[in-house]
Symmetry: C2
Subunit: 407 residues, 2 copies
């Protein structure tokens, strides 16, 4: 059985792990040498869900992709270029983004509004359309079920490693897969920064359900990672579900749905954490959990304030267990809490206990920060509001990269 | 005439420029070698105004100073220590701060609630009270009208230069002076960061009027400076007006009041800008003006978002006129605007004009950032909302200082 065979092969094949997807990534000339155009293709019309940047300045590909999602719920392709964001490019930029969709549709023999468009790179410069059109023609011939790493590579900008992941599991006896690629690095912040994420699955799911699920899971993954607090003009996470696994459409509240949701969360979380790990100049991955806030919203606020604080991030970089900076950040996060009830635990070691009691000498406390992976647990001991977010440390390297690199 | 003579001498004497003030700064042993305790003394009960940190975690000296201001509108002294913030120190910390006021009052023969208390330095460690009590006894003997620089020095922490300024001018034929000292450096952010400011004047003004004035001017100066976005537990700006100039109490809307307000603004602005200049690792002073927003509130939001953006600050450090990062920051500031109408002017040179038209080649644009003083003008061309704020660039040095220094 051909289909069964493919299923077995699909594990760890990123966006081509689910059945019926092809991908490619090539160099078309926007960048000097590196791959700069990617295509993701579903053999069958796929239900689409998407979330876009909340920045008031929205790049042309964001506008075009949003438009297509409004007129059409089923998609066949995503065309993405890196090296040029096609942002702040006015009407010409809009026409260029539209042209990317049109050209892709024409070459593939599909409809323009079945195509999403994504771009990332320098802001304010027109796209080199001739190169891109040539690229689209070439890449459309090349897409195959082994192109998942090429596609992941072709969407990178300052990323130092490619981000690709997949998960396969069973629902009602049928094998279902979810794959994803992402790019991040720098300007990473909740509510979408220069961050692109593309998710494929062979599950079947109705559009409204899929959109709610994507929004929910993005809020707990991509929107909980923080590198430097800037949000950008081009961010998007797009998910396609083409139903080729043969399962019945997933319905909320069912056991099947819960299995799918958990795996969907794991794939998005893995991609999100890879983005943090690859934060510009990052040397440590920092998981910040706030427990016992009045509400989950408060817990998120406090965790994000700590994650955004340059003083906390430089202290972690310097392996200084400076709890004063942590408590200060919670203090200006805007939430209600009682500082005397606050506890701080780093990598399972209590640093500060209630009533400001310092649990161990500073030199020993600093030892907890030697690891590459830091778990910072802040207990507010007020109520049941919990949240986790992720960030990286802040190094001299970050400043070097961003003072000299033009992104 | 003794008084006339003094008036002539007072120019440029910081907080002792106004008549009837004494100051001192000495080493009492909190720090290893540097001055760490300061006293500001008014010979006569002075009308007091004060603004305090909005952080939910408020250090003991903030709590005690607020209490005293509630029970009493007239003050004689401000006692300040550096090297230890007396923050997150619980009941003991409160008792210690109160004790600082009591001891100062006793030695000077004044009332406890005529004393403000300020602290700055390490969070979470108890004050070395024996040293401080000794210090208070010593410093009370030393206060004189030439101690203004010693006082300015004694409140410094990571500051690299002392911040002292005064202005003398005439109101209705009488000489009036305003003096101030401040400390900042790192953790500088609107709504009071680890920032202390102490202002003296010999003007006469009623408390309610003085409080409104201080709040208004702090909002346009100390609350418009941004170094890294962190706000702290200990910040305060305290102003004393002892009336010794002999002028009638200043009334709002009068010509005299307007003269005073303008000078008061100039003194606070000078101190605030000195704090930015001394931002940890700063190499450039950046003035950000947003013009033509819907409202002044929107203009402030946009200016602060740009001032807070690590990507903008590192680009300015790298002398890269990266307008894409500026427009992106305005985009996520949360205000309404039309990106196509936005213009960016750096040091009077247009960089970006309407409809995303790039005004000159990037190499020439970068030349505008060579200066130590950068004026970044962002025109939204929407309405009449204008605002200015100040920040510094973000250097590798910032990360080094904060990764290794324990503050």
């Amino acid at each position: 059985m051909r289909q069964e065979k493919i299923v077995e092969d699909k594990i760890d094949k990123g966006i081509t792990a689910p059945i019926g997807y092809k991908a490619a990534g090539i160099h078309c000339g926007i960048k000097k040498l590196k791959k700069d155009i990617a295509l993701i293709l579903s053999d069958y019309p796929a239900t689409a869900a998407a979330v876009f940047t909340l920045n008031k300045v929205q790049a042309a590909p964001v506008l075009v992709s949003k438009e297509h999602l409004q007129t059409n719920g089923k998609f066949r392709a995503i065309i993405i270029n890196s090296g040029n964001a096609n942002a702040c490019t006015g009407e010409r930029g809009y026409d260029d983004a539209k042209k990317m969709a049109e050209e892709t549709a024409q070459v593939l023999g599909i409809k323009t509004d079945e195509v999403f468009v994504g771009s990332t790179g320098v802001i304010g410069e027109p796209l080199p359309m001739e190169k891109i059109i040539n690229g689209i023609n070439q890449i459309s011939q090349l897409a195959n079920e082994y192109g998942y790493l090429d596609a992941a590579e072709a969407i990178m900008t300052t990323d130092t490693f490619l981000k690709s992941f997949s998960s396969s599991f069973f629902i009602e006896g049928a094998k279902v897969s979810i794959g994803g690629i992402a790019k991040g690095s720098g300007m990473i912040h909740p509510n979408m920064a220069t961050m692109l994420g593309f998710i494929t699955t062979d599950a079947a799911i109705e559009q409204e359900t899929f959109q709610l699920l994507l929004k929910k899971i993005v809020d707990k993954t991509f929107n909980r990672i923080i590198v430097d607090g800037d949000t950008s003009t081009n961010d998007m996470v797009i998910a396609l579900a083409n139903g080729t696994s043969g399962i019945k459409p997933l319905k909320p509240e069912t056991e099947s749905y819960k299995i799918f949701e958990e795996q969907f969360y794991q794939v998005l979380k893995k991609l999100a954490l890879d983005i943090v790990r690859d934060g510009e100049g990052a040397t440590k991955l920092v998981e910040i959990t706030v427990e016992g806030a009045s509400t989950e919203i408060d817990a998120v606020k406090a965790a994000k304030a700590v994650a955004l604080s340059p003083l906390v991030k430089t202290a972690i970089h310097g392996e200084d267990a400076n709890w004063g900076r942590i408590i200060t950040a919670v203090g200006y996060s805007g939430i209600e809490f009682d500082p005397a009830k606050l506890e701080i635990i780093i990598n399972d070691v209590p640093i500060l206990t209630k009533n400001y009691v310092v649990a161990l000498p500073i030199k020993e406390a600093n030892q907890t920060l030697k690891s590459k992976n830091i778990h910072l647990l802040i207990k507010l001991n007020l109520n049941g509001g919990n949240a986790t977010c992720w960030t990286c440390d802040f190094s001299e390297e970050y400043v070097k990269i961003n003072g000299s690199y033009r992104s």
